[in-house]
């Protein structure tokens, strides 16, 4: 009799487990699990630093306090990592991606090797916005936009390559804002650009405001023009879109600045269950507002500004919803 009862209980448990798992939802817990953050850039850069910051603090807000490790997956300006997250990584909430915010341009311009649709990922959000500012060395004669327009010789601006926003931003200014003498000089990395400015080999560069804030505040660099996305302290700088009357120019500048709002995007593979995505999103939002995280980010010269996943997705959908003639015009200036 006792044996039969035990058998019955066992059969009952097995049946319930097999046929109706949804009816007994155990709250998803990460206890004892390890989450990987796949970072699409190499160690040492801004994306990597952001990924490692959240690898440290995100577990505090996830149920079960999992361990989070960062794995750098370089290649194709993050295309390799994005392809991996789209096609190979399991949608089990154990893989998170941090990808280049310029990837929407790769998809829009149908760049070779793109095997993903950015709108299909689960968007967690971004902990920062990246404001582009055109800066020059303080000892150059350029003190205003008019000075730039009146420049007699070349205004040499450094950048890491044609696909960088440090190139796209000034090229649009050159084409539509009357700053004809801009000359781009490409270096092997943004580190070399900074050194070249110190060496007076070039006059300045377009850069993320947060990473150059100390130099701008100390008066080593002078900020002259900013993109649409702003940050405290540079609200009064002229915005690139306001420097042209050409409607196409305005449109292209607006499109270019879209991804600035999704500064350092955190995503999960497509088809990740909604409950898991919600847990990660909530934890991420809380971590972005945690005073300890803000203080650490401050030390790393990062200013946190939480941008929700839905907002990132809306920006992308707007970008991908452009008529062909605009995309064609856009591709003249924007490379990936």
């Amino acid at each position: 009799m006792k044996k039969e009862t035990l058998l019955f209980i066992f059969a009952f448990i097995v049946t319930i487990t097999l046929i109706s798992p949804e009816t007994l939802p155990a709250a998803p817990s990460y206890q004892g699990k390890t989450i990987r953050i796949v970072c699409g850039t190499g160690p040492g850069g801004g994306y990597d630093r952001t990924a490692r910051l959240f690898a440290k603090y995100l577990p505090k807000y996830l149920p079960g306090k999992p361990t989070i490790i960062v794995e750098n997956m370089e290649g194709g300006s993050s295309i390799v990592a994005a392809n991996y997250l789209y096609n190979i990584a399991k949608p089990d909430g154990l893989t998170i991606g941090v990808i280049n915010r310029g990837l929407p341009f790769a998809q829009l311009l149908k760049t070779e090797g793109v095997k993903f649709d950015l709108t299909k990922y689960g968007w967690i959000g971004s902990p920062t916005v990246e404001t582009n500012v055109l800066t020059v060395r303080s000892d150059t004669p350029y003190k205003s936009v008019q000075d730039l327009r009146n420049a007699k010789g070349p205004i040499k601006l450094g950048s890491g390559g044609p696909a960088s926003s440090a190139t796209q931003f000034p090229l649009l200014l050159k084409a539509f804002a009357g700053i004809k003498n801009i000359q781009m000089v490409f270096y092997r990395s943004s580190r070399e650009v900074a050194l070249a400015v110190e060496q007076r080999e070039i006059d300045g560069q377009t850069t993320g405001y947060s990473s150059f804030k100390p130099q701008i505040e100390k008066g080593i660099y002078r900020a002259l023009i900013r993109g649409r996305v702003s940050e405290p302290g540079i609200e009064n700088l002229p915005v690139d879109e306001s420097l042209t009357n050409d409607p196409i120019g305005k449109k292209l500048m607006a499109l270019r600045s879209g991804p600035d709002r999704i500064g350092r995007p955190f995503i999960v593979p497509p088809k990740t269950p909604n409950d898991l995505l919600k847990i990660i999103r909530d934890a991420f939002a809380k971590a972005c507002k945690d005073p300890e995280v803000i203080a650490t980010a401050d030390k790393l010269e990062m200013r946190l500004e939480y941008v929700p996943g839905d907002e990132c997705l809306a920006i992308l959908k707007d970008l991908f919803n452009q008529p062909d003639n605009i995309v064609k015009e856009f591709s003249k200036y924007i490379k990936f």
Binding site: G44, K56, E71, G76, Q183, E198, K335
Partner: protein, 501 residues
């Protein structure tokens, strides 16, 4: 300045900083020995631990690790012909043939002692140039760097085989290396070159898989074919005795060691050139120091000077590479970028403050490099006999292990299967080059310098037109380059010797 130096030493000798330096050094010991896993990637793994540390504890911890990886990386290069680090490849060229001759102990003794002298030289160099560091770094803009790279390329003449045919083979090898360095997305217009539709190749060929394939795979094949241990039939007893001889070799070539250390330190200070280049330039310099052609012919076949030169240079550059990071906040490599991140976490702002307000801390970094290397080399020397005996393990046992390390080492470059494919392809190329007696170092020099040369020539021309050719520093460096390039011919004419074909 003396006060700051002493205060720096005092920081290092406190219990907690000293312990952290030891822990860092122990980690660095293994990171160096294991191929592929580099100092930069390990710093990334160590950063989370420094959040709660003070700068006085964190810097010895991080630098203690980073400053010994090249020292122990040399051990792997000598014993197995696998580069332990990207900057210890040149040690293989003579170190591994020495191991094959049963002189592993001697090679290890020489490379460890020259590494120590190099590291101490680098630390000393860093200590004395700290006050004048800014003008020194700023003096080398793109045109000067381009000519320095040309100077590096002239080393191909020294690294090639003997005679006119040897030089031709060297130049062809260098040209092939140059061609391989062009793989990837072009920086100027974004064109994809030789990528064959593979995203993996967008960033170009990674150095580590290429080096491992090029140097280690042919040796593994050779080892399998021979079927004997790396050191052949040499007995255990003879191996152990070599270490002292190797140390003596370093001291009998003391000036060479110092000159190569100086090359490492000077190249290390110039952002962009880095350790990968300085090891080869110093190797070429060591080869150039051979007085006769017969002596010169021994390089590549196990000349101890070919081990001492790169051993000294790849360690002396450690102190110097810190300079741009500390003085300008401009990191020169991935590893230094991680260190910069650590600086910021610790609340230190690199730049003039590090040379005034935090000078004691900067000097404590110098001391860390020196002390960590002294301890590391002392520990290695204690176990050198046992380490050298690994070369007497029979081929059937050691080959699979070396193969495994090759795979792991190559794979850690990008965590991609592409790394393995690249390693195998370059393994095959390397094997056929060895079989047909083509010198491999010119290829590596072309491979490392090609990308740099292209980039700096482009920037020089874009920024200055052709006017850069008339910069005084460029003219001086060009004269030096010409002198270097023509030296072997002038020497040959002066000694009036026929060079065999």
């Amino acid at each position: 300045m003396i006060d700051a130096m002493i205060s720096g030493l005092m920081i290092n000798l406190q219990l907690k900083p000293f312990l952290f330096m030891l822990i860092g050094g122990a980690i660095g010991f293994w990171v160096g020995i294991l191929p592929g896993l580099g100092g930069g990637a390990t710093l990334a793994l160590m950063i989370p631990f420094v959040y709660k540390m003070t700068p006085q504890e964190a810097l010895p911890f991080l630098l203690g690790m980073h400053s010994v990886v090249c020292t122990t990386g040399d051990i792997t290069s000598v014993l197995f012909g696998i580069p332990g680090e990207g900057s210890t490849v040149a040690t293989i060229v003579d170190g591994y043939p020495m191991a094959k001759k049963g002189e592993a102990g001697r090679a290890l003794g020489a490379v460890l002692m020259s590494s120590l002298i190099g590291a101490l030289f680098g630390a000393f160099f860093l200590a004395i140039i700290i006050p004048m560091v800014r003008p020194l770094v700023l003096a080398f803009a793109s045109p000067e760097k381009f000519v320095l790279i040309l100077l590096g390329l002239t080393c191909i003449a020294t690294l090639s085989g003997k005679g006119k045919l040897g030089l031709l083979m060297g130049l062809l090898g260098g040209g092939l290396g140059f061609l391989c360095s062009l793989v990837g997305q072009d920086r100027q217009v974004g064109v994809l070159r030789f990528t064959f539709g593979q995203l993996y190749l967008w960033n170009g060929l990674s150095m580590i898989p290429v080096m491992i394939g090029f140097f280690a795979i042919p040796e593994v094949i050779d080892l399998t074919k021979r079927g004997k241990a790396i050191a052949g039939d040499v007995s255990f007893g003879k191996l152990g005795k070599g270490a002292r001889e190797g140390i003596r070799d370093t001291f009998s070539n003391f000036w060479l060691t110092l000159r190569c250390s100086a090359i490492g330190a000077l190249m290390g200070i110039i952002p962009g050139l880095g350790g990968a280049v300085s090891q080869w330039v110093s190797y070429a310099h060591a080869a150039q120091s051979a007085k006769t052609d017969e002596e010169r012919a021994q390089f590549g076949k196990g000349d101890v000077r070919g081990v001492i030169g790169p051993g000294a240079a790849n360690n002396s550059k450690e102190g110097a590479t810190l300079v741009p990071t500390v003085a300008f906040g401009i990191p020169t490599s991935g590893g230094m970028a991680m260190l910069l991140g650590a600086f910021l976490i610790l609340g230190l702002v690199p730049g003039p403050d590090m040379l005034s307000k935090h000078l004691a801390l900067t000097y404590s970094m110098v001391w860390t490099i020196a002390i960590a290397n002294i301890i590391c080399v002392a520990v290695c020397l204690l176990f050198i006999d046992h380490i050298a005996k690994l070369t007497t393990v029979r081929a059937s046992v050691i080959t699979p292990i070396i193969f495994l390390f090759c795979y792991i080492g190559a794979y850690t470059a990008n965590n991609s299967m592409g790394d393995i494919v690249v390693m195998m392809v370059f393994g095959v190329i390397g094997y056929f080059m060895v079989r047909s007696k083509w010198p491999r170092p010119p290829f590596i020099l072309g491979f490392i310098l090609g990308d740099l040369a292209e980039s700096y020539l482009y920037v020089s021309t874009t920024c200055y037109g052709s006017a850069w050719l008339l910069h005084p520093k460029v003219i001086v460096l060009l004269c030096l380059t010409l002198a270097f390039a023509s030296y072997p011919y002038i020497y040959q004419k002066l000694t009036k010797k026929e060079v065999p074909q």
